[in-house]
């Protein structure tokens, strides 16, 4: 299985995707949580609005992204916006070079998951004792310093949980990839994470259960190794967390 270049490239896709999507979602959802936490007016409104996409199915969102926002014709939302600036329509999902399809996949996933992690961060932020901020203010700390030395360390438990969940989610990448990129019965050879590749190998008409299981074992090993390493780095389960 490891000698199969398509499987190797799927592993690269999947690691690259995880490396990109995990920090991006982390930063955006933390930023959103900080903004919402500081809002005095309509806080619950913003909280709800940002959280709402979480309730949407990945499949539904993927189809909306594919067929209405990023469709290749002039009436697609993205191309209509380009049209205002006089730019040509871009067939977002058909081009392999430049890889616009990543924009579609990543924005869909961000839209779907940022709200959920924002809520987790928000809960964490609201648990930080105000006395810490008061003490910092008396010491003359403000802005970035407060964030760097109080908010972030106090959010450590939440951040660890969020990172772990994000990583697991990234490794489960299937729904939006499959629904955005597969055309009738085929899937392009790029942006193909291992679950999609294994779906076609083992469950597709290929029915190659041997290679399918081998791939699944390799995948499990990778996830286990990453989880252990991440646990080490973040000292998961340490007392005092």
């Amino acid at each position: 299985m490891l000698r199969d270049p398509a499987f190797r490239s799927s592993l690269v896709t999947f690691l690259a995707f995880a490396v990109f999507i995990v920090p991006t979602t982390f930063v955006i959802s933390l930023g959103a949580a900080l903004l919402v936490a500081r809002t005095r007016v309509m806080q619950s409104f913003f909280r709800t609005v940002f959280f709402l996409p979480t309730a949407c199915s990945y499949v539904v969102a993927a189809l909306v992204w594919k067929m209405s926002i990023f469709s290749g014709i002039r009436s697609g939302l993205a191309n209509a916006v380009l049209g205002w600036f006089g730019a040509d329509s871009i067939p977002w999902l058909s081009l392999a070079d430049p890889p616009w399809y990543w924009l579609v996949i990543v924005t869909a996933r961000l839209w779907l998951q940022v709200g959920f992690y924002m809520i987790l961060f928000l809960a964490g932020i609201q648990r930080i004792s105000p006395t810490l901020y008061e003490a910092a203010a008396i010491d003359g700390a403000e802005g970035w310093k407060v964030f760097r030395h109080i908010t972030l360390p106090q959010l450590r438990a939440t951040s660890t949980a969020v990172l772990l969940l994000l990583l697991i989610n990234a490794f489960q990448a299937f729904d939006e990839f499959y629904n955005i990129l597969s055309t009738f019965g085929t899937y392009p050879p790029y942006a193909r994470p291992p679950l999609v590749y294994l779906y076609y190998t083992a469950l597709g008409s290929g029915q190659d259960f041997g290679h399918g299981s081998a791939g699944a074992v390799i995948l499990t090993l990778i996830i286990a190794i990453v989880a252990v390493v991440q646990g080490r780095i973040l000292r998961l389960g340490d007392r005092g967390d």
């Binding site: 539904v60 002039r74 058909s94 009738f184 779906y199």
Partner: protein
Amino acid sequence: MSDKQIGREIGQALGAHLTRRSLFALGGAAAVTGALAACGSNTGREPAATGGATGGGSGTTLNQWYHQYGEAGTQQAVEKYAAAYKDATVKVSWKPGDYDQSTAASLLTDAGPDVFEYGNGPTIDMIKGGQVVDLTDLIGDTKSDFNPSILERMTYDGKTYAIPQVVDMQLLVYRKSMLDKAGITPPQTIDELIDAAKKLTQGNVKGLFLGNDGGAGLMGGPMLWSAGLDYLTKDNQFGFDDPRAATALGKLREMWDAKVLLLGAPKDWFDPSALTAGLTAMQFTGLWTFPDLKKGLGDDFGVMAWPALDDQGKASVPVGAYGSCVSAKSKDVEAAKKFAKWLWIDQTAYQLDFATAYGFHIPSRTSLIGQASTLTSGQAAEAAKLATDVGHAQSPILWTPKCATAFGDAMNRIVKEGADPAGEIAKVKTVADAELKRVLA
């Protein structure tokens, strides 16, 4: 692959297609546990099916599976046929979702069907694995009456493993008015086609629509045939290790580079809306779109085969068919064979009804085409003639799913990324040679 090739279930009901996608993306597990999938649907369908079927004479019960056809009334029709059979009780299961995959998996279990349809007949692995039984003797004298390229596709080693139910085809459809306006006659060679597409590309209207992937998924076969080649040679060797194939596949990239192809249409090639909404002047699509084309464009459309590359090549249209197969795991193989023969060989009236009364298809029996009132005039008659004259089965039986995936990947790289066709063909050959060795061993 085969669902792509046939494409009929989504032909007229994109809605059904979407559910299908969503269904298997959400519940891919159903495909793993074929047994579960089978139980689930059987339980769901049982009341309707038994209600529709008359009590069987001999007490034998047969399970017959169909994929979910998009056209209204098809399910009731097949239940009616099953109920009319006197020698056994036939339970019809109408299976939405990823039919090809879940059926293939269920054949490994005891919960599979007795009689089932499969796109272009069973796969070579089903035949090699002894999962389906030989139906050659059922077809007998009627052999010459079936569309030859379809029947050949369902035959391996001289034995036929499926009875073709109805024929579907794909072809090139164009807007007459747009071609007239641009002063173009229907192109006869690929280069003429490229020229025409260039002239027809104006503003937001593109010249040609070959699918949202620029034809990478759809046009591989037709391009090989247009160069006079095929996936495999007659003696089952790799068929397109040839500079002409590289030239032919490179033509698709030429169209892509010329920016004459419609890309990113909301509905893909299997739906007529790109043509009816005026997004493109020509589109490669299926026969099943004709009712919608008629409704949207009236008589403003013409049909033609995919043109030849040059004088040495051949024009072609891909044809495919669902074939009725009998599972080797059936509790009563003889009864199942008898029923398959009764319905798909003897009952010509039902076959005609099934092909023409609900969707838009060609009967698989040549003798019935003349009786199909939907196919007697206009574009449909021309299309049916193309299917008989230049119809080409979509892919040979030995072209396994693995070969198809390798070829699809290569096509994507050639068309979308501009990879060197000859190099990509060599990569496909490596995979295909190993696969041929495996299945022919």
